[in-house]
Assembly symmetry: D2
Homo-oligomer: 138 residues x 4
């Protein structure tokens, strides 16, 4: 699967002249949304069915700084999926150097209650499983 | 009415070391929300009734820059109110010097259709009229 | 000149489910940066010479709302250029419908003093003049 | 030490009607800046000496959602300090319920090289040590 590309905007840089660390959390979301589009079950489709997918936890390691106009290449893969939760891992590179690694865990809620991805969205669940297998083969 | 205070956050400053111009638009929203709270009819109450209030237009003049930790004092007053629209004017000062003046115009929508503020929220309408009179006296 | 494309991110939408109005100010910056790249004198080059270009004023008319994943096409043209100031005009469309029109005026500062674009960056000045002529022909 | 207070702004909420998860990272920064002010050695003073303090890593657990106008009370304490790094722990509550716990680790850089907090800012180092002792007594 093709990685997601984010080119750093001027307004994403702080007084140090570097990409503000909070923005990487947003790049993670962009890359995750793109990943779901690419496996064929966009996040807008999930939301259209009245299901939301809040973030339960995340972590982020900042290895090198980036700045205005830098091209950040973001690889996403599923680290773990249970019936109720899914954990994504992100590797962000700039000029082939890893600048940031991160993880985020999510659940799916309908009427404020956690739902089983497998039962509620079997097609999405299968697509994710297939993608996990493909990632493992690589 | 007491003006609204915003102290500039680190993440609101850009590579030039100044408050990024887009953030003043957010300070305007903060000040507007605070203004509605102070006249006794908070924006959350409007939203709780299923009414939203999108921005129709805005303008902003940046007279002096501000930076991290600067205290911005924001005075809000109603410039104009018709049955369907309301225009706010903002004067932002730092150390008694005007740093930014701005305007924003809003309508109120219910089920995607414009509604009359006076008919839908008579209490809010009256409170705004009273406030306009008080501002004119000052 | 090809217009700039911004696809609305999830984090750019607010509780109303629409693109928050403050974000259009950021899209304007993205489009302006892209425009300068396309005329061959990127904003990073200006900054590399120790010159900054703060926003003096802006205005924005919101004609239709946009939301998550909407493709916003942004056309930029120079509305006016004097020796010290430049005004850009932006037309943003979604599905060929104008959703937002906007303007922003900028100056160029070196050591906190306004500078003449024509004298300081003759190459940039010429490129802008050429672009203005081309836009007028279209 | 008095905790830091952040009241959620309208523009900080997303389409789910909840505070967007990326904003908590910014609240952490606000609380950290406030904490340094309160121990008497503000972050602006560090920056004024040409020293920057980038984030090396962070983690965040989202336990409950918050929304527009919610008052988030943020307690900061130093989890660990070595000569080169400092780790803060954050506990965020709303109505006495923990909504988010988080950690962030920082270093201090001068001319792009890590510096010893103790040697470069002995007064800051002492103030932090004193605060750690006080926190341990509580």
């Amino acid at each position: 699967m093709k990685p997601y590309i984010h080119i750093v905007n001027y307004y994403e840089c702080d007084s140090m002249g570097i990409t503000h660390h909070s923005n990487y959390i947003r790049f993670m979301e962009e890359a995750r949304v793109d990943w779901m589009d690419k496996i064929g079950f966009g996040f807008d489709r999930v939301e259209a069915e009245g299901v939301v997918s809040p973030v339960l936890s995340l972590s982020c390691n900042y290895l090198h700084t980036t700045t205005f106009k830098d091209t950040i290449v973001i690889k996403v893969r599923v680290e773990k999926m249970t019936n109720l939760k899914i954990t994504f891992a992100y590797t962000m590179t700039h000029n082939d150097r890893i600048v940031c690694t991160a993880q985020s865990t999510h659940c799916f809620l309908e009427n404020n209650r956690p739902i089983s991805i497998e039962r509620r969205f079997p097609q999405l669940y299968k697509a994710i499983c297939t993608q996990i297998e493909q990632d493992n083969e690589d």
